[in-house]
Each structure stands twice: as C-alpha cells, then as structure tokens.
C-alpha cells in the first residue's frame, strides 16, 4: 500500500470523540512496564513485568533469580553441622526457622531425641524471631503505604529482640544457635528477665501501633477490600501462612501438626474474614500478640535439664570434659574434622514460619555430607498469587500487594 493511502486510511475519529464532548472514552492502549529488580517497594531484588492499561494493572509476571546463590548446591559440599550456617541465610529475616527446619530434618534422619529444655529454648527463639520478622514487615509495609513513622517504631522494637539474640547466641543475625540435637548454649544469666521485660512492654507497643494505624484513614482506604483472592484459588496456588489465614482458614502447623512441644502452650490462631489486605495486616498483628503469650509461657515454664542431646556421636562434648577425658577429646576431634555420619534415608520436615509452611527436604546417603538439601520456601510459593492479587487493580495497589505478600527474596531465590 502506498504511503499516502496508508496515511489516509488512519482515522482519528475515535481519538477526537471525547474532545467533542461525547461520553465514549478512547480504547486505552496496553503497555508493558518493567519494575525492578532494583526498586525500593519490592522488598528485595524482585523484577515485575507489568502490563498496564492506564493506571490499571492487567497482568504481572514476577521474574526472579537475581539473588540466586546456589545455597542448596553448596550444602551438598558441607558436613551436616556446617550446612546450618548456609540454610540460615535463605530467608534472612526468619533465620531461626530455617535452622530449625534443617536441624529437625537431620534429627529425624538420626532418630535423635531433643531434650525438653532445648525444645522450649527453640520455641522461645522462634517466636521472638516471628515477632522480629513481622515487625520488619510492618515497618516496611507501612513505609510503602506512606507511613514512615512505623518504620522507626517497628525497627526500634526489633532491635530489642536482636539484643536478646546477641545475648543468647552471640550474633544479632544468623546466630547459628540451633544445633543438631539441641541448642548451642544455655541462656545466659539475666536473659529470662530481659525477655519477660520485653514481652511486657511489647503488648503496649502493639497497642501503640494499632492506635496509629487502625484508625488511619489513608491506611484503611489503601488496604480495605483490595487484593482479594478466593480461598480455593489460594489453596490451589499452595499459599499458606498469614495469607491463607486471612481468608478464614485456621490452618497453622503449630496447632495442626505440633512440633517442638508447641502442644504445651496455650495460644490462638488469628484468622481473617474476606482475605483482603486489611485482614492480612490484622492477622499478622494478632499473631504477634499470640507469640508474646507463647514466649511468656515458655520462659516461665522452662524445664530443667540439658540443652543439647548427651549423645557424643552427634553433639560436641562440654568444654570442661576435654581437659580430663580422652573419649571426649576423640569425640570432639571426630566431630570437628569429619562430622557425624547420617544413615541413608530421606525426610521432609515442615514447620510454620512467619510466611507459611517452611519445608526442608534432606536426603542422606550415609556419608557425613547431605546428598540433597531442599527448602520449600513459603515466599517462593506465595509469590505466585501476586498476579491474582494485583490484576485489574491500580498500580499503587500492586505496591500494597507486594507489601502484604511479605516476600523475602533470599528465600525465593536461595
């Protein structure tokens, strides 16, 4: 077709129609916008390809792999007790949960009993970690929605938890406190009092957060009735954790399949009603209150006894024995140089992390290194519901959706 003819065939009628005062809007054009991987609102290096129609999101494709570091592969080259350091770095806000999932999988392969005191110590640390993780989520999510005060408030209280971690495990992040068979050390003097002090203050702090956010018009308008995904669809997508409980499904592995003495504690499972962003926010806030209850019960009812299994084939002997006992020295030497061997087998161990079901699959081949370590990370699976959440809503709600999804890219990419 000659150029002139083609030009004449273009009609501007539709474009001009609204200018002439009619009610008909021109068909908006679809365009694709790249968001990320470096974007402050994506909570990590998450890249989203958004198809937009004006300001309305028609489709989102999450692209991941920007922080893939091959942790699962690296674990295959480490002795069992050294791999704990690696798995902790997957979901970097819930490190105690990663370590627990891995350690309990190895304990199951070894058929190793964990002393009651160690189970309680693990529960205390995991619940503190849950609060720390939810606080970080609260601060960054509120920041995404324009409430910068929450970031300072939430991180201030998270710092108190990190102080407790530093006291007990020696590190603020990734303390490697959990060992196969128990925990690294008993609580230092003064820890329990400091922890109970924190739980007492934290109740008032959560009240403060709620006073700031629950009646905040902007916050409510941004969250209410936004990002609803039907429960059946979420179940098919494999979504678990607070996102699932926000729709009213009271599934929590701490209750349904108790592990690490969770059956000893009295706590409730908060659920939402319709599963919008507001429900997701309320469920997580309520979970923090329940975690505080568990911590108080566990610290006050802490059983006496050893904090790690007395089995010298798995756990290091106490330091003072090395000076007097030849056997202890041999065990110490064998454990540090070779590590312990695990009989062949494979297990899948699942626990409730702050983001949902965290599963750890370990295959042992009889040597002192795992043949395969796989983490079923809740962030990785939950990310698949983002397109359903954001479709046909405004792009500003996509940002709210990412915030309420609470993805941790270290866990997604591993």
């Amino acid at each position: 077709m000659p150029y002139r003819e083609r030009e004449e065939s273009v009609t501007l009628e539709r474009m001009e129609a609204p200018l002439a005062g009619t009610e008909v809007e021109p068909d908006a054009e679809l365009f694709t916008v790249n968001m990320g991987p470096h974007h402050p609102a994506t909570h990590g290096v998450l890249r989203l390809l958004c198809t937009l129609e004006g300001e309305v999101v028609r489709d989102v494709v999450p692209l991941i792999g920007y922080v893939h570091t091959g942790i699962e592969k690296s674990c295959e080259d480490q002795q069992y007790w050294k791999a704990i350091t690696f798995v902790e770095r997957m979901d970097y806000l819930a490190y105690y949960f990663n370590a627990y999932a891995y350690c309990s999988a190895v304990e199951r392969l070894l058929d190793e009993e964990v002393p009651r005191r160690a189970q309680y110590l693990r529960v205390v640390h995991m619940e503190l970690n849950r609060i720390a993780s939810h606080l970080f989520w609260l601060g960054t999510s509120a920041l995404d929605l324009g409430a910068i005060t929450m970031l300072w408030w939430a991180l201030r209280d998270r710092d108190t938890i990190l102080d407790l971690f530093e006291m007990s495990g020696g590190q603020r992040l990734h303390p490697r406190y959990f060992q196969v068979g128990g925990v690294m050390e008993d609580l230092p003097p003064g820890w329990a009092a400091k922890c109970l002090d924190f739980t007492k203050n934290m109740v008032a702090r959560i009240d403060q957060y709620e006073a700031l956010l629950n009646e905040n018009q902007i916050f409510i308008e941004r969250l209410r009735d936004v990002g609803i995904v039907p429960q059946e669809r979420l179940r098919s997508l494999g979504v678990s954790g607070p996102l699932m409980r926000a729709t009213g499904d009271p599934w929590d592995l701490r209750k349904t399949m108790p592990y690490s003495s969770y059956e000893d504690f009295d706590f409730k499972i908060p659920v939402g009603t319709i599963g919008d962003h507001y429900d997701r926010y309320r469920v997580r806030i309520a979970e923090m209150r329940e975690s505080l209850k568990i911590i108080e019960q566990a610290v006050e009812g802490m059983p006496e006894g050893p904090f790690i299994t007395p089995n010298r084939k798995v756990a290091l002997p106490p330091r003072h024995e090395l000076a007097t006992s030849m056997e202890a020295l041999i065990h110490h030497f064998k454990l540090v140089t070779e590590g312990f061997r695990v009989p062949p087998g494979e297990v899948y161990e699942a626990i409730e992390s702050p983001r949902g079901e965290l599963g750890c699959f370990v295959v042992a081949d009889g040597s002192s290194k795992p043949a395969r370590v796989h983490m079923r990370d809740p962030s990785f699976v939950n990310l698949q519901c983002l397109p359903d959440m954001a479709r046909d809503e405004l792009i500003a709600d996509l940002i709210a959706g990412i915030a309420m999804l609470d993805p941790i890219l270290g866990g997604i990419d591993r």
């Binding site: 991941i64 893939h68 690296s74 494999g238 699942a350 395969r372 990785f380």
Partner: protein, 176 residues
C-alpha cells in the same frame, strides 16, 4: 501420621483404581510415608489422591527434584501431599533416568495444582526434568542461556566464572 498399614491400604486403593503397575514400591521410614510410582502414571495417581472421596490429599505442599547419583534411575521428582482433613502428609516419588526425564515422560500437574508452575520450572532448571504439557517451561533461577542443570550431582561446585552472558559472544572472556 500415616502408619505402615495405612500406607499399604492407600497403595492398594491406588493400584485398584489407577492400575496394577502404577505403584512400584511403598516406603515407610522415620514416621513418613512415601509411594514410589511409575513416571508415566504419576499424574493419574496424584489426580486420584487429590479427588478420591475418602482420603483427599487436597494440598500440594512441595514439588522438588532430587538426584540419586550414582544409583539408577538417577533422577527423581518428589511430590509432598497434605491432607488438611486427615492432617496427614503423604510423599509421592517417581524415579526416572536422565534420558526419560529429558524426553518428557513425566506429565505436568499444573492443571491439578496451580502451585506446581514455579516448582516444575525450578525442577526443570536445576535437574533438566522436562514436564510434558507444562505451558511455559523455562529456566526460573538461572539465566535463560545457561547451559547445564546445576543441581545434578555430576555438575561441579565452584570453578565457574561469574558471567553475564548476554555480551559473552561479542567480547569473550571479558571478565578477565
């Protein structure tokens, strides 16, 4: 927790409903139950377990690959099913040779559970298991033009230069 007898009952009902040769083995160890099924019938077995009225395993908790090198058949795909009603887990494992995995003998389960989409992509990326019928099977974590499947046991750890391979063909070994 499914005990050894319960696992045999499930295996029997699967054999009756789906076919005699579908369940190759039953494994009950460390308090966990696993069915070993033939790759061709894996999808049918999983569909039966999901929809069977008495004991529906409605939730696919995890799907992941595994390499049992040097044992044969080398590769395996694990499905971790969860029954929210029974509050029990059931593992389904299917083992297949490298050739069979790359030829696409294992059907996809994305139509049964939408969650399998990412996890099958990941298994394809890391182990080279080609899921038959998956609509958009591509690499997920590794770059699109990456060669090899890094989670296989014969893939070496380390010694690999960090590449941003999109300009590698124009300026080879630019990173040195």
């Amino acid at each position: 927790m499914i005990d050894a007898t319960g696992l045999e009952l499930i295996a029997r009902s699967v054999r009756q409903a789906v076919g005699e040769g579908t369940v190759r083995d039953t494994i009950h160890a460390h308090g966990q139950a696993t069915l070993d099924v033939a790759p061709e019938s894996a999808r049918n077995v999983l569909g039966f377990l999901r929809d069977h009225a008495d004991e529906p395993f409605d939730f696919l908790a995890s799907l992941h690959g595994c390499d049992y090198f040097p044992a044969e058949p080398r590769l395996a795909v694990h499905y971790q099913l969860l029954s929210t009603e029974r509050r029990e887990r059931l593992g389904v494992r299917t083992r297949l040779t490298v050739e069979a995995a790359e030829a696409g003998t294992l059907p996809t389960v994305t139509d049964l559970w939408a969650t399998a989409d990412f996890q099958e992509k990941e298994t394809f990326d890391f182990f080279g298991v080609r899921f038959d019928g998956h609509e958009d099977l591509r690499r997920l974590h590794m770059p699109e033009d990456y060669e090899g499947h890094p989670q296989r046991r014969d893939f070496p750890i380390g010694g690999e230069p960090v590449l941003y391979t999109f300009n590698e063909h124009t300026t080879p070994r630019w990173y040195e």
